[in-house]
Structures are given as C-alpha cells and as structure tokens.
C-alpha cells in the first residue's frame, strides 16, 4: 500500500479524544441527560405508535361531546367540536416532532456544506458566505420564519422549510468555526501532503471531526424548532385544520379559555416536556463531548 493510500484509508484521528464508548460512559453518569434522552425517546415512540395509542380518531367530531371536561371516556376532555383532546395530542406529536427533526435536517443540509466551504477554502468564498449568514442572522428567527411562511403559503411543509432556512445560519457559523480549527491539524496537513483531494479530505478527515458540536447544536435546535413550529401553527401558518398539531390546538383553545381550560393545558404541557427533554439531552451531550472534561 502506498503512503498516499495508507493516509487516505486510515481512520481520521480523534481530534478531541472523543469516542462513542467514552461519550456513552459520560452520558450514563449524567442522570439529567439520561432523563432527557428517555423523554425524547418516549415522545418519538408515541409519535410512531400514534394510531395504536390514540383511543379515538383525531379528526372525528361529535356534537354530543362538545367541550366535555376530562372523564373516564375522554381522559383529557374534548374540544370545541367534540374531538378527543388526548387523541389529538398523541397524533399532534407527529407534526411537532417531525417538524423539529425535518427542519433541523434542512438547516443542516444548507448550513453544513456552506460552513465547510467557507471554512475550508476561505478567501472571497468565506467572505461572501459569512456576510450572507450575518444578514440572515440579523433577522429575528421567528419573524423571518413568519415572513417566509407568509410568502410560501401556510402549511406544515412550508413551516418546516421556513424554520429550516431560518435556522441554517447557526450551522454555517458552527461548521465554519470548527473547520477553521480542524484544518490546521497535522492529520489534515498530512493528508494534503500525500495528495488527497479536497473532497476526500473534507469527507474523511474534516466532517467526522466536526460532528460532535454539530450533534449538540442539532439537539438544541430541534427544541427551538419544535417551539417555532408550535408558534407558526398557533398563528395559523403551520399545520392546517383539521389535522392536529400542538400549536394549532392551542390556537383553537385560546378562544375557549373560560369554557374549556383543559383544551389549553395539555398541548402546552406536551410542548414544554418534549422541549425540556431535548434541552437537557443537548446540555448533557455537550458535557459528554467536551474535550476539556477529562473524566
């Protein structure tokens, strides 16, 4: 095997000294992060198994059960058109979680390649990408998402696109900063010296080493994206009726605060718990992946 091939096929050295087993060991020692992970997994399981778990069809209304308080038949009560709140809450988790995950995937798909290009090549490309990123970051996240959703038209898909575009600059900045630090490492210089192509260096040596901070940021951004989707749906720019989402359920509930307070309580609790879960998981992952912590 030539030196060139050896360098190209050897695994990228771990810059920060993180490894899966070490991260897992640190995570296990952090009960808060574990609790966050359990909450997140629980909600994902609920979203996947929604048709099996929901006691009623989420969109079927009944004029006999309009705004009924919680009973044995309807544990969380019914809404303004007699639909079961718990069933809508369970099905609503699909919209909220998929919006959180898909919009962050969109943000990663836009942000990471741009950030890597800016950090790796520098020069005018970096200047252009950085200025555009600054401009997008200057517009408040939700206001930009509202404007994009307004021009794209109200729907859950467009809300996800709007949130993804609004969140992308965070990943551009993060990826750029990480690449700037990784590209000066000896193993990258070595790979370059033996003639590896830029594409190969980025794929084999840069991307694996900038992954940990991106993972932490993704977890925390999913939390922000879930709140953003709920906010857009609350304003009527996300999930459209009759399909449920936690934000759209709150949008309806605000008109019945005095007559049916239970309509407003549960969707908010669900948003709070899942966002809290993602936040503590993100904090825990950050601690577990922190190379300065030698535990």
């Amino acid at each position: 095997m030539s030196i060139s091939n050896a360098a190209a096929t050897a695994p990228a050295p771990a810059r920060t000294g993180w490894s899966q087993s070490r991260v897992w060991r640190r995570l296990r020692r952090n009960p808060t992060a574990l609790a966050g992970g359990v909450i997140v997994l629980l909600f994902i399981a609920i979203a996947i198994a929604a048709p099996l778990l929901a006691p009623y069809e989420p969109n079927v209304s009944s004029w006999l059960t309009v705004r009924k308080p919680p009973t044995a038949a309807h544990w969380m009560g019914t809404d303004d058109v007699g639909r079961d709140v718990m069933s809508r809450l369970i099905h609503g988790s699909r919209a909220s979680l998929s919006a959180g995950i898909i919009s962050v995937a969109i943000a990663l798909l836009i942000g990471v390649p741009l950030g890597v290009l800016a950090g790796y090549y520098g020069g005018w490309l970096d200047a252009v990408i950085s200025r555009v990123t600054e401009a997008v970051l200057a517009c408040p996240f939700l206001i930009l998402a509202i404007a994009l959703a307004a021009f794209l038209g109200p729907s859950l898909t467009n809300a996800m696109i709007a949130i993804g575009i609004s969140a992308a600059p965070i990943f551009v900045r993060l990826a750029r900063g990480q690449v700037l630090s990784v590209k000066t490492e000896d193993y990258v210089q070595g790979a370059r010296a033996v003639g590896c192509s830029d594409f190969r260096i980025i794929r084999r040596y840069i991307l694996p080493n900038i992954f940990p901070p991106l993972l932490v940021q993704s977890t925390l951004t999913i939390a922000t994206a879930i709140i953003a989707e709920a906010s857009l749906s609350f304003l009527g720019l996300g999930q459209q009726p009759p399909d449920p989402s936690w934000g759209s359920m709150l949008n309806t509930a605000k008109n019945f605060i005095t007559q049916a307070p239970w309509m407003a309580i549960w969707p908010g609790v669900a948003i709070f718990v899942v966002v809290f879960g993602f936040n503590i998981l993100g904090d825990g992952l950050r601690d577990a992946l922190d190379p300065r912590d030698s535990r």
């Binding site: 600054e134 939700l142 206001i143 509202i146 021009f151 038209g153 709920a230 908010g268 709070f272 809290f276």
Partner: protein, 313 residues
C-alpha cells in the same frame, strides 16, 4: 472610540445591503404573478397593468431591486394594501407600543435573571444552584404563548386581578396602561430572564476564579464586597453586551405575546399583514427588525468598548 465605531459601521454596510436583498427576494417566493398577489381578489386587467407598471414588475429583477432599494433609502417602504398607509408610517405608529413592552420585559428579565445568576454562581452545586438551573431551563422550554394563556386563565379569569387583553395608551391612563402591559411583559421577560441567568452564572463563575478575586479575598475583604464589587462588576461586561443582543428574542416573543394579549404593536402588525397578504408590510417589518438588530450589535460593541478598560487603553 470614533475610529472604532466608524470601522464597525463600515463593516455593517455590506450586511445591511444583504438584508435588503434578502427582504426583496422574499417576493420571489410568491407563486405565480406577484401582481395577482398584490391585487387580491378584486382584480381587473387594468388594475393588474397598473400594478405591474407601479411596481416595475415588467422590468428585469435587478432594476426592480434598484427601484425598491432607492425607495427604502428615502424612507419609502411602499403602501399597505390593507390600510392604504405608508409602511414606514405604520411601523413607526406601532413601534412605541412594542418598545414599551420590550423595555418592561427587559426590566423584568434583568430583575430576575441577574440576581438568580449571581446566587447560582456563588452557591455553585447547592440546592439553590440546581433549582435556579432547572427554573432557567424551564423558562427556555416553556412556549411563551402558552404561558400567556395560562396566566390569563389564572390571573385574569380565576382571580380577576388584571385585564386579560387590550391596550391603553400611557398618555391616556398610565395606571391602566401598566395593568394591561405587566402580564404580557412578564410573559415576554421570563424566557429572556432564563437566558440572562445562564449568562450571568457562567460569567460570574469565571470571574470568581480570576486572580483579582483571589487578591481581594487575600486582602481580607468581606465576601459580599468581593462578590458584588469585584466579581460582579467584571462579570457584568459580557452580560450587558449579550443582553443588548436579546433584541431578536424580544421581537420574536413580542409577535406571539401581542397576539395573545391583543396589543396593537409591531408583532401584531406583521401577523395581521400576513393574513391580509399585505406583503409590503411583511417586508417592511423584516427589514426594520434586521436593521435594528445590526444597530443593536453596534451598540453592544460600543458598550463593550466603554465598559472594558483594557479595550479603551
């Protein structure tokens, strides 16, 4: 100082130009003919031709942008199709309401966030610290529009203490104004209080480990003086500058808070504009907030410069 500010201002200009490009490009997302979207439902061929002529829609996109940009630079952001008022005037009319809400929310955020951050850092690892961290994380995780609904249910409906919605100008009735604004300001302030608490805590923790704090303790100063006069003063520098950058958070939060409490401010303006397909207003609001954010960035840099003696030296 002046040279520093001039340099920062010069760096901001390309960003401002890019914000204007971004805002202008929003209308390219409109499916189909923009003239149809602007005209609304009651459109005639003559009206469409008039709109295309007025907004230069028959010209190339670069020319359209140029016309739009020169208009914006002279303070003309277009006319609201709903109210038939100039967008600039509309924004300036709504701005004081949101400004008052933002200032009140910031005062509440600082009053909660900074003391909580100090206590949490000074008693690191104690039940206080854990409790404050959990509360801060909860503050970040609670959607403020839901908190608003819950407070309306409890404070207005159950206890009847404060009005559930509406707005009274402070010039008309200052007491009523405070009554209507205090709850929305609290809702808006809690999320920012949580962020401020975390900033203060982390800044105080590094300050408390600094050499000058060790020296102050070695001199025999009381812990209270060490914490407040030495550690906190230095910890405040990043907190103040980061606090200035919470404008985006405030404006985003104001959109939802104003919607829930029916406050006729800046946030309600953009939401109403979205539903009325008043695209000029939507663009105007985004452009205004982006520009305001850049200016707040400049202010933050200036404050950092003024507060940090090492930079001034």
């Amino acid at each position: 100082m002046l040279a520093f500010m001039a340099r920062r201002l010069a760096v901001s200009i390309p960003t401002l130009v890019l914000i204007s490009l971004l805002v202008f490009s929003l209308q390219l997302l409109l499916p189909g003919d923009p003239a149809l979207a602007i005209a609304g439902d009651e459109r005639t061929p003559e009206m469409l031709a008039f709109i295309r002529e007025k907004y230069h829609l028959n010209d190339p996109i670069v020319v359209q942008y140029w016309y739009w940009l020169t208009g914006v630079l002279s303070g003309d952001m277009g006319i609201s199709i709903r109210s038939q008022m100039p967008v600039t005037e509309l924004i300036l009319t709504k701005l004081p309401v949101t400004l008052q809400l933002g200032i009140m929310a910031m005062i509440i955020a600082l009053a909660i966030g900074i003391p909580a951050g100090i206590i949490s850092a000074v008693r690191k690892g104690s039940a206080w610290d854990v409790g404050a961290n959990v509360v801060a994380l909860s503050g970040i995780s609670i959607p403020n529009f839901w908190l608003g609904i819950m407070l309306i249910m409890l404070v207005s409906v159950q206890w009847g203490l404060l009005p559930a919605s509406g707005y009274t100008s402070p010039l008309e009735d200052p007491v009523r104004n405070i009554q209507t604004m205090i709850m929305p300001a609290f809702v808006l302030g809690t999320g920012i209080a949580a962020i401020m608490m975390r900033h203060t805590r982390s800044s105080m923790l590094s300050s408390l480990q600094a050499d000058y704090v060790r020296t102050a303790r070695a001199k025999g100063l009381s812990e209270r003086i060490v914490v407040l006069r030495h550690a906190f003063r230095n910890a405040l520098i990043p907190v103040v500058t980061l606090g200035t950058l919470q404008l985006g958070e405030l404006l985003s939060g104001a959109v939802l808070t104003e919607q829930i409490f029916t406050i006729p401010g800046f946030g309600k303006l953009i939401v109403d504009a979205v539903f009325n397909r008043d695209y000029a207003v939507v663009q105007g609001v985004v452009l205004f907030t982006g520009t305001a954010f850049i200016l707040m960035n400049l202010l933050a840099d200036m404050l950092y410069f003024l507060l940090n003696p090492r930079l001034r030296a």
